[in-house]
Amino acid sequence: MRLHFSRKMLGIPYAVFLLFFVILPMLVILFYAFTDKQMHLSFGNFIRFFSDPTKLSTIVYSLVIAFITTAVSLLIAYPVAYILARSKMKKKFVILLLFVTPMWINFVLRINAIRELLGWVGLLGEANYFNTILGMVYDFLPFMILPLYTTMLKIDESLYEASSDLGASAFTTFTRVTLPLSMPGVASGITMVFLPSMTNYVVSDMLGNSKVTIIGKFIYEYFGTNWHMGSMVALILLIVVFLSTWLTGGLKEDETVRGANL
């Protein structure tokens, strides 16, 4: 038997990678979520989760925090991306770079810096939820700007010309050309910001003095004591994120452009 080299074989490393680092871990989580400490099949964790107001409240709080973070990031990022993509300015990449460079500085350092600033202003310890959301917006903003900017850059100039030839006002051009065509960028931006703001408990610990508990912290604490419950919470988070991604349209196959944006 001779081995023929085919293009398909190039995919093997990726398949192996996906198997070991994506599929197997998911199965392990699934296994732990539906077993008890004696490793017997059990729905106890599931029932406990949905009958405990604390856990449901934490999910709701996390959702609300993530929602506000995403909305604020979007409100800030959209005009920035629009102006950068549409302006005729030379060297506009410098401005883009200024927005993105914080991402290259160590995360813990940035959060510590914000913590000091907030302490200086006097907000630390006073407005824990505000601080947490502020920190998250600051931290995740580049993830919103970048996909928006690249999608907007790709919008064909001739569409704008056609729009103004047909007598559309600037506002109509925006609502009928820019907005619909930038939707894939909006969707991927939302996906990139929503999940980390539900789970990044370092921000809520540092800026909310650990008084703000989000679902990520919950998972972390459960993994210190009870892996089964921790896996169940992780699984539920997975489903919540999957649903919200699906709702924002992140899973539609025809919009392959988005993949390139990231």
Binding site: P53, S57, Y61, T213, E221
Partner: protein, 517 residues
């Protein structure tokens, strides 16, 4: 923390490459390996910050490797890794990681021993007459007594095993508050005791630890304040009764504790694991719940006018306050899991117990070690002994500090009583570093609560830490989410509704139809 661990992993991988190549190249069958799992920053790591103060001062691990080969003639290689919490360490063990020596806290030692993870020390290990048994020869009689009198399994009367069977001590201390005397008077604190945590005058000015056991202890001390104060400190069973109160986990207690913890949650500035030191120096908070060793470290740094990264700041004097009613007494000790290399592990514990090495470790990490003896006493005196002749008013400003209970017969009689600055002895480093016998008498050890109680307390903790909404609020928000989701779905798949297209103008249809013809 996570990042740190990942970094450590990457480093470990890098470090493993040459080792692998080495072992593959010329395998030396005789080399012994000792796998140690210890707290982060809990051993002398050599270099400029160490006792010797020179850049090339070897770390404790290297010293041990050299010493072991010289003493036993076999080369040894130490694989050293660290953990951040007792629970992390326990998880690693459960995952099947194998070690020869671990350094958990007392309650985790009890849990591990009760679950059969540990093997006992050799009986000869505790015999001071055998040469090389540095631990048995140098350990403080106070610590030895603690380890020999605390049982592993308090519930089961048929199990006589004690901590000493499974563990050798390493570091110990008490809990209390570091406070900034610029804002808080020591006498004010004495009136409040643990109530500091719920007192409105310290609203947003005090922190507790972001860990359930420490906060639970504080809440217990507040709950049973009256009962604790009613105990007679002179009675023989005083400490036993105190310990019983501070280890309660019955349903009624949990209910009371929950109410107190809620009050604490309202009152405190926040929960912290390591931001407290910086926050108290910068004046953000006035009081910080702290372990004694950490407190000594924070006081030293603040006094020297340095932050943790060695940058210069203003010099601040911090004090340490141990509540008069009670405090928590804790120990970290070395234990050997089953399958460990006992000989090498015990040799390591003995090596750390040589007085000079004990001093090195104490100097580096700031905690109080379990080792006594002249050399350790000299170190303590070097830090805290004063000359009364230098004081204007020695009767007022100097006190005799008595550590005989700790040093016992390891030093010459009365040597462990030395003159110390009154401020040091009553509210600063010395008082935190080596508490007096009177302080240790009112300290209780927190036991392992058992699986069931542990679970209940963890649930209690998560209730305190998260905001719990009323049922109706959850329902309303869930309905809201479903409505939004429904609207999005309708927009996406309903097809008919197009938000960005205005209605066709009148006459539009007719024109189009005409065009078609």
């Amino acid at each position: 923390m996570k990042l740190k661990r990942f970094g450590a992993l990457a480093l470990a991988t890098l470090a493993a490459i040459p080792t692998l190549m080495f072992t593959a190249g010329c395998s030396n069958d005789k080399t012994v390996t000792l796998r140690i799992f210890n707290w982060e920053e809990y051993i002398d790591e050599g270099g400029e910050d160490s006792w010797d103060g020179t850049e090339d001062a070897p770390a404790m691990i290297q010293r041990f490797e050299t010493w072991y080969e010289e003493t036993y003639g076999t080369p040894i290689r130490v694989e050293y890794s660290t953990f951040g919490t007792n629970e992390d360490m326990y998880n690693q063990l459960q995952l099947g990681d194998e070690y020869d020596l671990l350094c958990p806290s007392e309650y985790m030692i009890m849990k591990l021993a009760a679950e059969g993870y540990l093997q006992p020390y050799d009986a000869s290990f505790h015999d001071p007459s055998i040469e090389g048994n540095y631990y048995a020869q140098n350990v403080s009689p106070y610590i030895r007594n603690m380890f020999e009198s605390n049982r592993i399994n308090k519930e089961d009367a048929s199990d006589p095993s004690t901590w000493a069977d499974y563990a050798a001590g390493y570091m110990w201390g008490v809990t209390g508050f570091t406070y900034n005397p610029a804002y808080v008077e020591g006498s004010e604190l004495s009136e409040l005791g643990w109530d500091i945590m719920i007192d409105p005058q310290f609203k947003n000015k005090v922190t507790t630890k972001d860990n359930v056991r420490d906060s639970y202890f504080v809440a217990l001390a507040i709950c049973y304040k009256d009962e604790i104060e009613a105990l007679d400190p002179t009675s023989a069973d005083y400490n036993a009764r105190l310990t019983e109160i501070l280890n309660r986990t019955d349903a009624e207690t949990i209910e009371k504790v929950e109410a107190v913890m809620r009050e604490m949650d309202e009152n405190i500035y926040g929960y912290e694991t390591d931001t407290g030191k910086a926050d108290i120096v910068s004046g953000k908070i006035w009081l910080n719940f702290a372990w004694s060793g950490d407190a000594v470290y924070a006081m030293d740094l603040a006094e020297a006018g340095e932050d943790e990264d060695g940058n210069e700041t203003e010099s601040t004097l911090l004090n340490f306050y141990i509540p008069e009613s009670c405090a928590n007494l804790w120990f970290d000790g070395w234990v050997m899991p089953k399958g460990a290399n006992k000989q090498a592990a015990q040799a390591f514990v003995n090596f750390l117990s040589m007085p000079e090495n004990a001093v090195r470790n104490m100097y580096y990490i700031g905690y109080a070690g379990v080792i006594a003896g002249e050399e350790v006493l000299d170190y303590v005196k070097e830090c805290y002994e004063v000359d009364p002749a230098e004081y204007e008013n020695p009767d007022e400003e100097v006190v005799d500090y008595d550590l005989s209970y700790f040093f016992g017969d390891t030093v010459e009689e009365d040597n462990a009583i030395f003159p110390a600055d009154r401020v040091q002895a009553e509210e600063r480093q010395l008082h935190a570093h080596y508490p007096t016998y009177e302080v240790t008498r009112r300290c209780a050890v927190m036991d392992y609560y058992g699986e069931e109680a542990n679970e209940t307390i963890n649930e209690l903790w998560s209730r305190i830490k998260s905001e719990t909404l009323d049922a109706w609020a959850i329902v309303v928000i869930c309905v809201g989410i479903v409505l939004v989701a429904g609207a999005v779905l309708y927009v996406k798949f309903g097809g008919k509704l197009d938000l960005f297209r205005s209605r066709p103008k009148k006459g539009y249809h007719r024109i189009r139809q005409e065009n078609c013809r």
